[in-house]
């Protein structure tokens, strides 16, 4: 049986969700990985496939090409700024966002940024639009740090998302994560989302859970994965049980199938 916990997002509820997480989460073995790989290989694809929770929630519906804008940039800049504040608490969040953007611009000036990257895009912006990026990143970082300050256990701002390349299936899975709480063996992962959760938020979290477990070298799933929707004041959580991992894997494969069908329809 899968789990889906629903709580109002308050100072106490997030702490409770973290503290009450199951102590022995499930572990994915090599057999699980091989089985998943076989299933993805059965869904042929002409090009490299990239799947994440967002696609699972949209049943594989193809969206337009990715473009940078202040909203798509806010998470990267905001989380980087939050990490800076954690490392140097004497800096204000606004100053940390400014520092992060300056660093990105420096990478472009020194020739380390490639075309299409965040740094490259930031360098081409006018001053007002860059100001808007600061405003959006500040919103994001504030929400991240406010969530973290509710906790009474060790936490860190994730330095990257979790990625897993499915062997010989031309498929990359990506799980977003913003806060990692506790030790690597018994970790709780928090993901921040804007807006309000839809009906498919649970499957989205399960997909994140499965990818997070696959990306861990020993296959240990997080004890719990928590989705936070600060705009709606809601948090949803999924436990790291084998049933939830299986459901997450099934949804990812289904998404690949749905995506392939859509491509075939478009091609016809």
């Amino acid at each position: 049986m899968t789990t889906l916990l629903h709580r109002r997002y308050t100072q106490g509820s997030l702490r409770e969700l973290v503290n009450d997480a199951p102590h022995e989460p499930a572990t994915l073995t090599d057999d699980h990985r091989r089985s998943l790989s076989a299933r993805f290989r059965a869904v042929t694809s002409g090009e490299h496939r990239r799947l994440d929770a967002w696609l699972v929630e949209r049943a594989g519906e193809l969206s337009g090409t990715f473009t940078w804008n202040p909203v798509t940039a806010r998470r990267l800049v905001g989380n980087a700024a939050a990490r800076r504040v954690v490392a140097r608490p004497d800096r204000s969040l606004r100053a940390a966002v400014g520092d992060e953007i300056d660093d990105q611009l420096l990478r472009v000036a020194s020739g380390y940024a490639r075309g299409g990257s965040l740094a490259y895009w930031l360098a081409g912006l006018s001053e007002p639009v860059r100001g808007l990026v600061v405003a959006e990143a500040l919103n994001w970082a504030s929400s991240t740090l406010e969530a973290a300050h509710h906790l009474d256990v060790a936490w860190s701002v994730a330095s990257s998302d979790a990625y897993y390349d499915v062997a010989a299936a031309r498929t990359t899975l990506r799980a977003r994560r913003d806060l990692i709480i506790g030790s690597p063996d018994a970790r709780v992962v928090v993901r921040l989302r804007s807006g309000a959760p839809g009906k498919s938020a649970g499957p989205g979290l399960r997909a994140d859970l499965t990818i997070e477990a696959l990306a861990e070298h020993e296959g240990h799933a997080p004890s719990r994965i928590i989705g936070l929707w600060p705009d709606a004041g809601v948090c949803l959580a999924v436990d790291g049980s084998m049933d939830d991992l299986r459901a997450g894997a099934r949804d990812l494969v289904r998404t690949a199938v749905a995506q392939r069908r859509q491509r075939l329809v478009l091609a016809a």
Binding site: T67, N69, P128, A135, G233
Partner: protein, 265 residues
């Protein structure tokens, strides 16, 4: 305590923050009661029937009756409002606005939202565009003169959205507060909600102040300290300290809107 000033204060930011020692303790207990009252009221309106589409309540629903016409809600009026709000976002993070209209349009395009309003902007002839530019610049001057400098450690959040689904999804409260300062940490109330309007302040503005406070309370379960509204048309600032009575009044106002909109749908 209500503070009403008929003139633009020396600094809006100073007026908003007030003295730290005068702030009340955080109220984290009122939200549940308010939610219960809203749920009861919604049940009285709909009973067990479910409307085809959820009734959506926004701040603009409280500003005026849906049967009335407000020129500020015309497409040009909305465009002016959204452009001035963009400038507030820039000022809040310390950007010096030199060319108000161009900077605001630049940010609106860069944001990639409000596509229909940008389409409307592109359709304006030179005369209408020049009139809008002058208008936006005048509002920006009033705003920049009044705002004052915001300390960077206040972590201003701009265009902060709020959603609340009530009555089993029959009603949705939606809100966007232009600027939120302060933190929910600590035992003292310190969150200030600030709304900017390009219209003169009127009776509807008071309802909007209360609505912002109510949605924030339902969303975070913490009662904000103050709710404020500034008119860049007149330079007036209205500030209200949020208390339970104010929130309860907003509950009744929201229920009246739900009843009105529910009967229409």
């Amino acid at each position: 305590m209500t503070q009403t000033t008929t003139q633009s204060p020396h600094s809006v930011v100073e007026a908003l923050r007030g003295k730290r020692t005068a702030r009340p303790r955080v109220d984290a207990t009122s939200a549940a009661g308010l939610r219960g009252e809203l749920e009861d009221g919604i049940y009285k309106v709909f009973g067990s029937t479910t409307p085809r589409h959820p009734v959506i309540v926004r701040a603009s629903s409280l500003r005026q009756s849906h049967r009335a016409t407000d020129l500020a809600l015309s497409r040009t009026g909305l465009l002016r409002g959204i452009l001035v709000s963009q400038l507030l976002r820039l000022m809040s993070v310390g950007v010096v606005v030199e060319h108000a209209f161009d900077d605001a349009v630049d940010t609106l395009r860069g944001e990639g939202r409000a596509i229909d309003l940008l389409g409307h902007l592109d359709q304006l002839d030179n005369e209408e565009r020049a009139r809008l530019a002058t208008d936006v610049t005048a509002h920006a001057v009033t705003l920049s003169r009044s705002m004052g400098e915001m300390a960077s450690h206040w972590t201003p959040r701009t265009a902060v959205a709020g959603y609340q689904r009530l009555g089993g999804g029959r009603v949705e409260l939606r809100d966007v507060v232009d600027l939120v300062i302060g933190s929910s940490e600590g035992g003292v109330a310190s969150i200030v909600l600030f709304d900017l309007t390009t219209s003169p302040l009127g009776e509807g503005a008071e309802r909007v102040l209360r609505y912002h406070a109510l949605v924030h309370t339902l969303k975070t379960s913490i009662v904000p300290w103050r709710s404020a509204m500034f008119s860049s048309a007149t330079g007036e600032l209205w500030t209200r300290d949020v208390d339970f009575e104010m929130l309860a009044r907003s509950v009744h106002e929201v229920l009246a809107v739900v009843e009105e909109l529910g009967s229409v749908s």
